[in-house]
Amino acid sequence: MIEVAGLEKRFGSVTAVNGVSFAAGDGRVTGLLGPNGAGKTTTLRMLYGVMRPNAGTISVDGIDASTKPLAAQARVGVLPDVYGLYPRLSAREHIRYFGELQGLSKATLAERTEELFELLDMKHIADRRAAGYSHGERTKVALARALVHQPQNVLLDEPTNGLDVMSTRAVREIIRKLRAEGRCVLFSSHVMQEVSALCDTIVVVAGGRVVANGTPDELRTQGGHENLEDAFVALAGTATGGARR
């Protein structure tokens, strides 16, 4: 469960995130939808603790991220914008490194690693170095790394960006599986089909603000269009014009 209220982030004179508030519940998939530069990645970065907000509060499973950042981070698994794999380490070593940093015991780690290899169908790359991985394979390693400590909350920054059909399907499968397990899944995207296919709740951001928040059906009525994409353009477009200075 992630709750965000009045989140703000400024870089010099630019306000990237300007009062974002929303909640992402357990057992639900929440989509952060918005055009490029809307502040999605910055919002997520504040949620997973690598950036500090200038204002606003973040609570992860009831833990205040500003006073107990490490405790909040421990309850989150993240697939970041840039995976940043180490070319000289194998998939197994990547998972082990993050698992050990999360404080998993040796036995738990070994067990989890096998589970993840099975889940993501990546046994064949387990002991190969990351230097030669395809984009899909790199996504799998980054995902496995994010899920190794079985986080209650999973944040995915544009998870299917640049993936082929097979890999995209695999990622969607995992998102549905995480929801079925009762976890809170929050992912950002600018791809309409993706969001409409997966999300229970959609948070539309534009120009650093939340311009709409609701189920896909609610958005259609709010945007005044039967087609979700038209609704999105209508919602995001007006806000962008207002927020950009």
Binding site: F11, R45, Y48, G49, V50, M51, R52, P69, L70, A71, Q73, A74, V76, V78, P80, D81, V82, Y83, G84, L85, Y86, P87, R88, L89, E93, Y97, F98, E100, L101, Q102, G103, A142, R145
Partner: protein
Amino acid sequence: MTSRRAWRQARVVLVKEFVDSCRDRRALASVLLTVLIGPVITGFMMNRIADRQRAAEEVRIPIVGAQNAPALVEWLRQQSGVEIAPAPGDPEQAVKDQDEYVVAIIPPDFAERFRASKPATIKLVADSARQDTFPQVDRVRRLFAQYNAQIGSLRLVGRGVSPAVATPVLVQEVEVSTTQQRAARLLAVIPLMILLAAFTGSMQIATDATAGERERGSLEALLINPVPRSALAVGKTLAAALTAMLAVAVTAGICAALLRFIPLQEMGMRFRFGMPHFAGMMAAVLPLCLVTSALQSCIASLARSFKEAQSYMGILILAPMLVGVLGTIYPIDNQPWMFGVPMLGQYVLLTNVLGGRAPGPLAFVAAAATCVVAAALLVRVTVSLFRSERIIFGR
């Protein structure tokens, strides 16, 4: 860095960085090369000097007119390492052409003047511009001087005069430095090479784990983990320190091995290098590795790119060189305050250990303590850099 969990995480980071950089074959090769090249070149040069010294013990003296002074020639022949050679046609040309480095000419009137106790001339043809054969020519000169003194003494004794009369002043040189110290001055490059190893050894990890990590984009992913920034900085710095220590140990080991092969005895040096010396050198320099790695990690974190970090490393390496160069220009005397200055303290300790006059344990402890304090301060700076979003995201 107060909890045990943070230290455990620092160890995880240390192991990962160490394993990761050991797999970087090229970087590993360049570190090995820089560590090996110094000792090998020095060993080679020392061996050359020893060879020359040995060559000086064996001289070949072509003599023109050997029949004019058979007793002298016979005396020369009996000296160890002396070979009497037949005379060349034109002595001066032979020396000019470098066929011979020295030719002795005994004129026909030698015997006559010798018998009459008048100074009998011997001409030595030599080229003093030739550096390489200087030891040999010098030995030949000393041989003739020795013969001169012997015959002179005999003549005085024959006339009932004590030879001591002919020596109004006897110059006695008192050498203060022990033979080991003189050898250490000649081997002054060894401390410098070991200080350099403390720098070059940690360079690779210090840049790759900080500037490299950010440039690859892996820093953000790493920071998502619930790990205090201090644990990251400590783990990365210690990984760099570990490789610096390995480089220092390898360099010292190679130097020790070389010292066994170099015939120092033949160079007039009584120089021993045993386990106590090795242990002393390790005790002196290992704490410095903490400072070098902490300094490099800190500066590399500040750099905007991997390349920029590498260029800073190139500047940093001038520091030990400066100490080494200054150390040879102004022979460093042991001032207590020097042990409190990282690098200078290690340099003084190293020269003393090599000179066979290791200072008391207090000096080692003081030098190590300042290193630990300096490293801790530098790590604190690195931690604060790791907390800055401007540094993490390279804005």
